[in-house]
Symmetry: C2
Subunit: 198 residues, 2 copies
Amino acid sequence: MMSRSQPAVHPLEVPPLTDAAENAVPMRVRMKDIQGMPGTPAGLALRVCQFVFAAVSLCVMATTNDFPSVTAFRYPHLSPPLISSILSLNRYLVAAVILQSLWSLSLAIVDVYALLVKRCLRNSRVISLFTMGDGITSTLTFAAACASAGITVLIGNDFNNCAQNHCTRFETATAMAFMSWFAVSPSFFLNFWSLASR
Amino acid sequence: MMSRSQPAVHPLEVPPLTDAAENAVPMRVRMKDIQGMPGTPAGLALRVCQFVFAAVSLCVMATTNDFPSVTAFRYPHLSPPLISSILSLNRYLVAAVILQSLWSLSLAIVDVYALLVKRCLRNSRVISLFTMGDGITSTLTFAAACASAGITVLIGNDFNNCAQNHCTRFETATAMAFMSWFAVSPSFFLNFWSLASR
């Protein structure tokens, strides 16, 4: 495993010339142009955006840990199961943005490393790993954001004094999760594209 | 910067080849093998699955058009804004599965035509159009299904007599929308792959 991935990580080492010579030509034509792939400054910027949005969403949600008591106190007409299911959806959103922020942070670190040592991240296995991870985390984040948006619409319509309570925070967290999903999508598509075009 | 990173991308200096001869071979090898693309029987089966799931979801939702009165009658502790927001989310789900079923039906017809006259749908513009349409409809369907799932969790936890009311229908429609999304995803990825690999 390590010895097979070594030529892609150490490009100045001369690899065996069998199929690398065939792959090099389309790589040179296509790979150079697209910014946003792993190992490029635009890719790092995308990762940082993903991490920042997910982290902001997480912070906003984490600072509303008095949400259960406030909700039950202010809205006695809502039944306890309704409140508990709202809270379980909140927990799902928190879990999704935690996963998203950890993934984006680790890939941002990998990008910084690749930029600093001027190494190439164009190994096929690495890119397929990145693609799968991006696909999974972006799907989870999008699902959590959509479910939260549904709940937010519900809460916002039902509670008239939404401005004074935690509703704004909830909406902010949902919007930040959507922004994080928007930032993951280009990374996913670029990785998938580079995986398919080789 | 660009000239310094060039050796990392090109580990080998390759003699210039005629790249038309290189590109022709992998295209012929790849395009033939992958079932599920437009114009293949598996692609037609995928389209039919998408259409059937979306249509079932639509029918289940459309037959519950007495949902507002039933909900307001059975659950007087829910406020009218809460019920109306549940209904607006239902309407969004209905709109999304209508769009999905129309799109899948039209592409199924195109597939049937291509299979009957043995024509190839490998035009680049056609595939990019298919890819965009698949991406948009699948995102809308997935978002609607997730929002409906959030609402379903909420309703299912809150209402104890969920078995006797329209809750099962609502869950069925949501599940069918998810199934339709699952069936759209392979079409989207295969189209994107064939778009990138040419």
